[in-house]
Assembly symmetry: C2
Homo-oligomer: 126 residues x 2
Amino acid sequence: MKLRGYEDARSGWTDDTQQLDATFAALADPTRRAILARLASGDATVTELAKPFRMSQPAISKHLKVLERAGLVSRRREAQRRPCRLEARPLRTAVDWLEDYRRFWGESYRRLDTLLDELRSVEGPT
Amino acid sequence: MKLRGYEDARSGWTDDTQQLDATFAALADPTRRAILARLASGDATVTELAKPFRMSQPAISKHLKVLERAGLVSRRREAQRRPCRLEARPLRTAVDWLEDYRRFWGESYRRLDTLLDELRSVEGPT
DNA sequence: CAGCTTCATAACTAGTTGGTTATATCGCTG
DNA sequence: CAGCGATATAACCAACTAGTTATGAAGCTG
């Protein structure tokens, strides 16, 4: 099986590369993951989002900018407010990438592996 | 639906937090993703891994250390070599987190949503 | 043991990140 | 229009990142 990424090492990268860079980088911060979790239950303004954190409002604004550049959040205007909305599509790209590795962590992998070994030993070496 | 992360904002974080931080941070670099992709096709030594990159060997060693601290790679000794093996279990944790957002990107979400609306309108308001 | 290969470590650098405080802008509302 | 609430921006800082070169250690192999 061929997984995405390695052959592109010197020739430049795959199309999704920048998207994956931005997405994973955005997800690497617990504050930002918490913000996404909050937005999953509905749109929210900056101050609403900032409330539960022990962090200044500008700090949250910065996190939101990171999420926005990664395409994980969009914002509209509403008077002085800037409500944020979850845009999860980039997460799909991330999951798609991760899914390629599913067989390396599941029990099913080990089971499939053993099964293949058994089949091979029945049929004898090629 | 309640998603993981937000309520922990001031009380400290969920158990997986550190793991997710490390995993997503590790995945945010295209070189490291490429290394994982390579390892998915079998164990490899440091120099083997370094070959396709325009990067020095110490640079690769550093990337490997990042992957190792995130638990995504393990290494054994074999004479002077240090073959690396893919350890994908942390990826499962990452996917588990991401799966919570599935309904925000899929068409199936819209469909499920409409379905629920229909059910509700059939049964009348509670 | 001399020397090659494999890999790690140290020391340095430039750029990025995640936070701060202070200040400016925008848009209601009295 | 004064003033307040909501948000963004600027300037600054400490810590971390991703790379470099130079060097050292471990372990084969002639």
